[in-house]
Each structure stands twice: as structure tokens, then as C-alpha cells.
């Protein structure tokens, strides 16, 4: 057994020493915590709000304390409903729904995608919009622009839509997910392990309670 003495600051500022003896091998009932377990989600419509030095430094401060870059998930409800206008000067324009929230449809301009170049100490996943129903051309337009801005090296994953329990049916969700997956693989020319970077089935636990932490 390895034994070590650590200094523990007490509330009143007094430092006292205690001895700890962590086991050298992993207990059989324990899980290995992924090195990038500390990661973050940004609602897709508001990604550009974090494209600044403050956010970059904040994430870097966390990343500097990790042995693997954190993952920024760019997704959510708004990520399924994007429109794109390459002639638009604004980052985004709300076109319907509850503007200013995740429950709205936003039209994106080219400057929106610049934000994928931020948070440079992290990798990112982004979402292939699946709407309800899906619009393949619109989804591909978002994915290709995000991928071009982010770069293959910083791509952690491409999520197929959002939380599947909000789509009409299981069969429709799976059909749409496989359709956009195939089109993305083809459009981006993904081969080998690059073609296995997809995430799907990110179930909203607001509707479920399985007691499991996550599934890989």
C-alpha cells in the first residue's frame, strides 16, 4: 500500500497533516473515470457568446488541470432547427419560437461558425440538425461549415440530432439518424475510424431515471 501525508487547510486557516493510504490497484467495483470527464455543454444557438478571451481562458484553466482536453458539446434543442444564410451579416437572427431561448429557430450567418475556432484548449462535438422532420440539405450545410471551421483534429464527435425522446417515433429517429449519418460520411469523405465519430441516443433523463451514470 502507498501511504502519503497531505496537508489539509482547515476553515480557520490552520494546516493539519493527515495520512492517507490509497490502494495500489483499482477496487473491483469501481469505474475508471475518463480523463476528459470534466466537459461542458453549450446550447448551439449561443455558441458565439462564448467566442471570447474570457471563455477561452476559463476553459484553458480547466484544461490545464486535466490530462486530456475537455470536450465542449455544442448542441441542444436549438441545434435541430437552424437555417443558414451565407449572405447574412449577423451571427444569428431569430426567425420563430421563443427568441433568446433554446426553443427557437435561428438563421445563422457565416460568422456564427467562426466560434468553432474558439475554446482552443478543448475538443468539440457538434450536432447534425435533425429537425422534426429532418431537412438533409439544411443539416449538411451546418455540419460541413462546422467541420471546416473546427478542423478534423479538434472534432470529438458528431451527434445525430438531439435527445431522441423528443422525436415522433423511434423508427423515424433511427431512419433519419442513419440517413444524415450516411450523407455526412459521404460529404466529408470520412473513412476508417474517422467514420466512427458519431454519437446518438442522447436521451433526456428528465423523462427517465435509470440510475446509470452514462453508457459508452
Amino acid at each position: 500500500m502507498y501511504s502519503s501525508t497531505v496537508l489539509v487547510p482547515a476553515l480557520i486557516g490552520v494546516v493539519s497533516a493527515i495520512s492517507i493510504t490509497p490502494p495500489l490497484t483499482k477496487p473491483s467495483g469501481s469505474r475508471v473515470v475518463p480523463r476528459n470527464f470534466v466537459s461542458f455543454n453549450i446550447e448551439a444557438a449561443f455558441l458565439h457568446d462564448y467566442y471570447n478571451d474570457f471563455s477561452n481562458n476559463l476553459v484553458r484553466a480547466v484544461a490545464n488541470r486535466m490530462s486530456l482536453p475537455p470536450i465542449i458539446r455544442v448542441g441542444g434543442t436549438s441545434g435541430d432547427e437552424f437555417l443558414i444564410d451565407d449572405s447574412q451579416s449577423e451571427v444569428k437572427v431569430c426567425v420563430s419560437g421563443t427568441c433568446g431561448s433554446s426553443s427557437a429557430s435561428y438563421k445563422l450567418g457565416p460568422s456564427y461558425f467562426e466560434a468553432f475556432k474558439g475554446l482552443t484548449s478543448a475538443t468539440m462535438s457538434f450536432q447534425a440538425p435533425m429537425g422534426n422532420p429532418i431537412n438533409i440539405d439544411r443539416s449538411l450545410a451546418y455540419v460541413t461549415r462546422a467541420w471546416n471551421a473546427l478542423g478534423n483534429d479538434r472534432l470529438a464527435a458528431i451527434a445525430l440530432g438531439n435527445e431522441p425522446n423528443f422525436y415522433d417515433t423511434q423508427a423515424q429517429y433511427i431512419q433519419d439518424a442513419l440517413t444524415i449519418q450516411g450523407r455526412v460520411i459521404s460529404a466529408l469523405g470520412l473513412t476508417g475510424t474517422d467514420a466512427t465519430r458519431f454519437v446518438a441516443g442522447e436521451v433526456d433523463s428528465g423523462h427517465v431515471n435509470t440510475g446509470t451514470s452514462y453508457q459508452v
Binding site: 446518438a200 433526456d204 427517465v208
Partner: protein
Amino acid sequence: MTTLTSLPTNVFAISSDILAAGINNNGHIRSTAEHYYQVMDTSTVWSDDVLQSNKFSKNSRTIVRVG
């Protein structure tokens, strides 16, 4: 408040359900996930003024998404 006693048939119970339904027969899915929400109390606007002041209270609302 309505308590959900059973899931509608069109709702995935857990992430593994979509795998069981065959979404990864082609092997391109690397992972699935469940989103856990921790909802706390109400929040003020996260302005520079607020962030740099003592206006935060124990009653701020934050949604933390994990997984």
C-alpha cells in the same frame, strides 16, 4: 404536478434502447449518453455587472447538463 408512471411507447427508455433497435448495425456510433439535469433556483442575468459583484445568491438558477 403529474407523475409519469410509464413511458409512452414512442419514447426510448434508455440510451441502450436505440442500440438494441439497430441504429449501430453499421458500427459508426461511438457512444451514446444520457443527459442529466440538475436544476437549482432562479437566476439573474449573467451580465458583467452581476459577475463582478456580490449579487449572486443561493437562489440563482442554473441548469447543469452532465453526460
